[in-house]
């Protein structure tokens, strides 16, 4: 993936404006082994690996669109399955999780604590759960690849996403 993809820079404006597409569908994308948040947190700590957390909602059309259009891209598949521990959270669900503090909370409550407004909302997190980047709304495959470059390339340690996009465009 290259950040010089045609149409790539323009697509970032969607991110930076946090334009939330009309909400929402769904479960995690088919063929992806998304874990529950607590399972993913445990593995992330054990393996010292970053997390990619997908906050979706049952019935979220934009989530379904992202699943069908973006997560089917082979390059996204390779990068995200290799670089992150993947977690999926249904932000309306009463399923319970155990947080690293030991607290038991529902998936809905986890969404509240992360200020999830629209779905999908994606978080890149450090292995200890610290948020690196929060992105809300529709993301294309190209955008997912760009975000991976920003996070896995550790550019977030020296630049904001906006600076990164400006530099790479």
């Amino acid at each position: 993936m290259s950040v010089s993809n045609p149409g790539y820079a323009g697509a970032w404006f969607i991110f930076l404006a946090f334009a939330l597409a009309p909400v929402s569908f769904a479960d995690p994308p088919e063929g992806w082994a998304f874990l529950s948040y607590d399972e993913a947190s445990e593995i992330a700590l054990e393996q010292d690996k970053r997390m990619f957390v997908y906050f979706g909602r049952y019935g979220c059309p934009t989530c379904e669109r992202v699943n069908r259009e973006s997560f089917v891209d082979d390059r996204v598949d390779a990068k995200y399955k290799n670089n992150y521990v993947l977690a999926y959270v249904d932000s309306e669900s009463g399923e319970r999780l155990r947080l690293p503090t030991g607290e038991r909370v529902t998936e809905m409550e986890l969404g509240i604590r992360h200020d999830v407004v629209g779905t999908p909302t994606f978080f890149f997190m450090e292995p200890d759960g610290t948020t690196i980047l929060k992105i809300a709304g529709y993301v294309s495959a190209g955008q997912l690849l760009g975000l991976d470059l920003f996070v896995d390339g550790e550019h977030y340690k020296t630049r904001t996403l906006a600076e990164f996009v400006a530099d790479e465009s």
Partner: protein
């Protein structure tokens, strides 16, 4: 702060509102030293506090002993301190308690324990041994009491990954809690998801139930009713589902959850829930009212005021008192002015034109997190609110309580 600024600059009707209660100083529900731990007021119908003739009971879950367990505390209505709390649950883990008042300052509590529904009777001095209420795996229990006597439990039975609602009458016999055979609320196969029920009795022993349903590929709210032991009526949809404005084949809906119900005068019923029909601002408090005992409901109306529109609301519930229907919830609208205000408790009440402007609850607002409220109104019209207070949204917290004395009683 934002609320006050908004009220000053905009000539909105909220300028005229003044809460019809005078609030006491808030107190801790558990007034003794415990190691830092996490409390939760979560459950179907948000029935975490119930007022009897002279006393009220609060039920919650916390992990003070290292595992989530359900506790209760009782206080005299007129006093501002709780009796020592008692542990209700007896299993490895317990969650999502509900409580309703019986005649004679007693209460029935129910909760999820080890994946089943359990319940017990409590009064100001003792708790009966818990009884298992569900015949198998179940969760998300709520309760309804008719004049403090006729009590029904409603829960979601779990079967092969699906959930279906069941209703079971409860009986108090020789100070023991007994359960009759449960019945389904809706007919059909056990293949989809019904959850988070709310229930209330109206006149003539009619039970109204509302719930979340996911069979359509997104969540919708439905309601149904039955009189006595007759079969439930055909379900009707409560929320006005707005299909997304797409022309492709992406299915879905705008998101609704956690419906609560309250009975008003005569055959009036108010439903209140969280509704994401305006996606840019997240969930808001919406409702619908029935004037025919739950046989039909009005078109949906927004409960919160305009100053809450740009931010999302959580943990909404409804009850009824002398001022009419009253709703509480939490939101972080004042975080715009102060980043430390991660949630405050808000209240709105029925007016001639709809719902009042929103008022923050004294003692349940300000820096830090004050959220997840539950509320009841006693026979005198006083409002009783419990909530979770934390320094931050992720820190251990405290369970707090405040009473608002009805305006007519202090004028």
């Amino acid at each position: 702060m934002i609320r006050r600024l908004g009220a000053a600059f905009l000539s909105l009707p909220i300028c005229a509102w003044s809460a019809p209660w005078s609030f006491d100083a808030p107190v801790e529900v558990v007034d003794r030293s415990l190691p830092p731990h996490f409390q939760h007021l979560e459950g179907a119908g948000r029935l975490h506090i119930a007022a009897g003739e002279r006393s009220l009971a609060v039920v919650w879950e916390d992990d003070r002993d290292g595992s989530p367990q359900v506790y209760a505390a009782v206080k005299e209505l007129a006093e501002n301190a709780f009796e020592p709390d008692v542990k209700l649950s007896t299993g490895n883990e317990a969650f999502d308690p509900a409580v309703v008042a019986l005649e004679g300052n007693r209460w029935i509590a129910a909760w999820e324990q080890n994946g089943e529904i359990w319940g017990s009777i409590l009064d100001s001095s003792q708790v009966t041994l818990p009884a298992r209420l569900s015949g198998g795996a179940a969760r998300q229990v709520t309760l309804a009491a008719d004049n403090g006597e006729n009590v029904h439990a409603v829960w979601a039975r779990v079967s092969n990954g699906a959930q279906v609602l069941e209703v079971a009458p409860l009986k108090v016999a020789a100070n023991l809690l007994q359960v009759e055979a449960p019945v389904r609320v809706t007919p059909g196969a056990d293949t989809h998801y019904q959850g988070y029920p709310a229930a209330t009795f109206v006149g003539n022993g009619r039970l109204v139930v509302a719930w979340e349903d996911r069979r359509a590929g997104h969540t919708r709210l439905f309601s149904s009713w039955r009189k006595g032991r007759q079969p439930f009526s055909p379900e009707i949809q409560l929320n006005e589902h707005r299909a997304p404005a797409t022309t492709d084949d992406f299915r879905g809906g705008t998101g609704v959850m956690r419906v609560t119900l309250a009975r008003g005068q005569e055959d009036t019923v108010q439903a209140v829930w969280l509704d994401k029909r305006n996606p840019g601002s997240g969930y808001a408090v919406w409702g619908a009212r029935s004037v025919d005992g739950g046989k039909s409901f009005s078109s949906n109306h927004k409960v919160q005021d305009e100053l809450g529109d740009a931010i999302q609301q959580w943990h909404a519930s409804v009850d009824h008192g002398r001022v009419g229907f009253v709703s509480t919830w939490d939101d972080a609208r004042e975080r715009w002015a102060d980043e430390s205000e991660t949630a405050d408790v808000w209240v709105s009440w029925q007016t001639e034109s709809g719902w009042s402007g929103d008022e923050s609850v004294p003692g349940a607002s300000g820096a830090g997190y004050q959220g997840s409220p539950a509320m009841t109104i006693d026979r005198e019209g006083d409002i009783h609110i419990v909530w979770i207070e934390r320094d931050s949204r992720t820190s251990p917290g405290r369970l707090r309580y405040v009473r608002g004395v009805a305006e007519y009683r202090y004028r």
